[in-house]
């Protein structure tokens, strides 16, 4: 691992930092920018409706605590993943929402990639549109961040590649008719044409593991969260346009 030390010292975002939308075709970029036609907005709309719906044994809606989401959720999504003092660990936005769902609302947790969780995540993420990614990695989050950095530079899978090999060393170049992105998680959850659905960044990262023929970490697992946190710090300052559109 010694040969990686110079790389670790330079653990920062590629320059200039570019979100994934800049590596999509003109049609996909137009789809993301289309306020009406962006399919992700259907999940945002659904999320806005769910926000007001009473849920669980407590029959409490998100609105009953958080009032108007368009105000109270400003800047929230771009802080995630984040260390949650109540839960005692780093969580992503999906897990934070579920903390409310199971805690305050007293309902069963929503599964990753379920229509409801996608809708709520999309709605909350939308309220950070135009704001810079700003995840904190100090204090209690630092161990998770370091774990994420280790994973980012670790070779894995049958193709024996680390994230850095594509997303630091070869971003902007063409691989199988697609432009390699910098691997920035900004604009997620995003509508992926490949899946014909809105999806979480966790699903997208799992697909990267599949891409190098590695075992996929489970949704919500420590390793996946650690990688998400590292990537969020690496994406610091990039402005969110969630929900995004990707091929």
């Amino acid at each position: 691992m010694l040969y990686l030390t110079p790389l670790l010292a330079w653990a920062q975002s590629p320059q200039p930092a570019k979100g994934g939308v800049q590596f999509q075709s003109a049609d996909v970029r137009a789809m993301q920018a289309d306020e009406f036609g962006n399919p992700g907005m259907l999940w945002v709309e659904r999320g806005a409706t769910l926000w007001k719906a009473p849920r669980g044994a407590a029959k409490a809606s998100c609105e009953s605590c958080h009032a108007d989401g368009a105000q109270s959720m400003k800047g929230v999504a771009v802080r995630y993943p984040a260390y949650d003092a109540n839960l005692g660990r780093v969580v992503d936005l999906e897990q934070r929402i579920n903390a409310c769902v199971t805690g305050k609302q007293r309902d069963a947790a929503l599964a990753y990639e379920s229509q409801e969780l996608l809708a709520l995540t999309a709605y909350v993420a939308r309220q950070s549109r135009g704001m810079p990614v700003a995840a904190r990695v100090d204090g209690p989050a630092s161990a998770t961040y370091e774990r994420g950095r280790t994973l980012y530079f670790e070779r894995q899978g049958q193709l024996n590649l680390a994230c850095t090999h594509c997303h630091d060393a070869n971003w902007g170049r063409t691989l199988l008719a697609e432009k390699v992105s910098q691997g920035q998680p900004v604009d997620w959850p995003a509508y992926r044409l490949e899946w014909q659905s809105l999806a979480s960044i966790a699903r997208r990262l799992r697909a990267c593991y599949f891409g190098v023929r590695a075992e996929q970490p489970a949704f919500g697992s420590d390793d996946l969260l650690a990688l998400q946190l590292y990537l969020a710090k690496r994406a610091q300052g990039l402005v969110s346009s969630a929900p995004g559109v990707r091929r």
Binding site: F36, G37, P39, M41, L42, W43, E45, R46, Q196, S197
Partner: protein, 106 residues
């Protein structure tokens, strides 16, 4: 009720064609996809959609599985006076959707 949205320009000129944009939330399952156990996922598509302006049909369509998921369609219409545009659609399982908007003739 299925989720959908419709959009027309804020105001339109009497008798002049204006864009009507429609987006519907639906997986448009082709019947060709297989789940992770290898089982074919059954076909489920929106197959008809129509639009009316003050009750009079101005557009209709039949969709096959070759329409993208979350079907999107833009068509044109003219209006002689302000009125309500109602878009309705249904899928091959009988599920229905409906959205409406007002078109204002300036």
């Amino acid at each position: 009720m299925m989720l959908g949205r419709v959009q027309v320009p804020p105001t339109v000129k009497r008798g002049e064609p204006f864009e009507v944009r429609v987006l519907v939330q639906h997986p448009m399952e082709t019947g060709f996809r297989r789940d992770l156990d290898g089982q074919a996922i059954p076909i489920n598509i929106v197959d008809t959609l129509s639009a009316r302006l003050d009750g009079r049909e101005i557009f209709s369509a039949e969709f096959g599985s070759g329409m993208s998921a979350n079907p999107y369609v833009v068509f044109y219409a003219t209006a002689r006076a302000s009125g309500e545009i109602v878009v309705e659609w249904s899928d091959d399982r009988g599920e229905k959707g409906r959205v409406a908007t007002v078109v204002t003739v300036a």
